[in-house]
Amino acid sequence: MSVWSLDARWRGDSPSSLDDASVAPAVSSRRAFLLCVAALAIPVAGGVVAYIYQLTQGLSVTGLNDEVFWGVYTVDLVTFIGFSYGGALVSAILRLTNASWRGPISRIAEATAVVTLIIGALFPIIHIGRPERLWEMFVRPQINSPQLWDMVAIGTYLLATLVLFSLPLIPDLARLREGNGIGGWRARLYRWGSFGWRGTEVQRRTLNRALTIVAIAIVPLAIMVHTVLSYAFSLTSRPGWHSTIFGPYFVIAAVYSGIAIVILASVAYRRVYRLEKWIDERSIRFLAYLMVAMGVAYAYFTFTEVTTAGYVGGREEAPVLYGLMLDRYAPLFWGFVVMGLVVPVLLVAFRKTRTIAGITIAAGLVVGAMWLKRFLIIVPTLAPSLLGDSYGSYTPSWVELMVTVGAAAAIPLLLVLLFRVVPVLSADEIEELNDQVRS
């Protein structure tokens, strides 16, 4: 195996073999890696500083108030965990259906699922004013508390995504045990993590069976866990949230935005490390088709939600809907509809714009618009007071924005660190799928 480096990338070279391509981020220039880490660590550090400031000053430094008591932090929680479910579901469903094009993107999808879940799971802690009391949930658990079950659901899902991410690594780490130009602790990790893999019939059968079981388990698990997250809203009697469609509405949103983030990550690695030969355009295009299908489904859910509430026009629902569609939040709502539903679908629908660049723009719009949609689910619903005719307002403070930017930057930072260690491509799986296609 030759050692491909970022120097080669600067010369416009593409990795010459699948093994070289899979370790391209791991063997690239150390200086470029450190620069990238430093650039991403700056906003992350800013977010940490802002959180420490919030910790010392209390939640009064946020824009939250008596009426709008959930804000950007809750938006971040739902959005980041949604990214995770999307990544894991894509990987699991494509594995179960044995989609031949999944190979190049499965590792990135699984890693994205793990990383975004870890970041998203921090937000319930960031949102509480006294995080030092969190341990009470472990030592004095209240079995009927939705908070406890949220924690259990996220923890269970994290375990499942870690398993889905780590088991397929075994054959790939085995390929890197020797002769890859990577030494030191990473070489020791590859030897330990490959568990003596030799690619025998029994080993392959055992691994494939385990992966199939985990993939089967993770699909209902992801759906249930994100439904539990939606219960934080729909199990309240608040107009605008108390809706039976919230479970599937949240799940579709998660898959929609999750596919978009997988596209963005795949395109970024494809471009930076010249992996065009391995992460082919077909895989990105098929992902885009899936994303658009989810987008259309999400548009249907949005239409159903608005139509059902608006047609009846109940005394409590009407001000929420009016504020959302025609008044204070109308620019944001219609901005979401255009930028999050219409434009991405059109970009993928037309052959002329169905290029890597067009798909990347569509995915970027989806990620931004779905963050905005979560904001529109939370804030306009809380703004009209349930006591009298007053109308609350909420503007995120600089602290909340810095924490959000820091968390968003932490996702690529963790991916960069992760793929410095583990292969970015599931080389063994790609070869296996190619063999299947050839035979």
Partner: protein
């Protein structure tokens, strides 16, 4: 004691008398105190419902009319909470009443008067008892019958989650063990 100090003392005492004497009527001008009492009116005939009756009286014991009174039942569903039964307006004798469909032989009832400009807020609680034959089957206001679900469901969920954790960990351990054993065998 000098004459000046005696004059200062007398002035202070006079000021205190003036302030207290002036403030007393202001303090007395607040809302009148009220008393709430609760009783259960039994039906004269089987097809007539029970009524929860609350009587709102002022400090002299005179009924206060035209005020709204709220009735709640203490229930245990996802923790102790109050199930709202309804509001009623007091009549000329100060009595407010709502029909009551008991789901248990003993029910703890809370009655609240929110207060007004004239009358102070108040509340009272009491236990009402009905004979077993008067207890109705499940009704829409009857949250207590969900109690078994409240107990069983979270525990079932806990078992399910534990099984998922055990299953996932077992898959990882058994897979890696088989792979390692096969490698050693090879």
């Amino acid at each position: 004691m000098s004459g000046q100090r005696i004059r200062n003392l007398l002035f202070s005492l006079g000021l205190m008398v003036f302030v207290i004497g002036g403030a007393a009527p202001v303090a007395a001008a607040g809302p009148d105190t009220t008393t709430l009492t609760l009783e259960l009116k039994e039906p004269a005939k089987p097809d007539i419902p029970y009524y929860l009756m609350a009587r709102l009286v002022d400090a002299e014991g005179t009924g206060i009319s035209g005020e709204s009174v709220s009735f709640y039942r203490k229930v245990e569903i996802l923790g102790a909470r109050l199930a709202y039964l309804g509001d009623a307006e007091t009549d000329s004798t100060g009595v407010a009443k709502i029909a009551f469909n008991p789901s248990k032989e003993r029910s703890e009832i809370l009655v609240r008067f929110g207060g007004s400009d004239e009358f102070a807020a108040g509340e009272t609680a009491g236990t009402v008892t009905v004979p077993p034959e008067a207890v109705s089957s499940f009704g829409s206001d009857d949250a207590d019958t969900l109690e078994p679900l409240r107990v069983v469901m979270p525990r079932l969920m806990a078992v399910l989650v534990a099984l998922i954790w055990i299953g996932l960990i077992w898959i990882v351990l058994s897979t890696t063990r088989t792979i390692r054993r096969e490698a050693e065998g090879a």
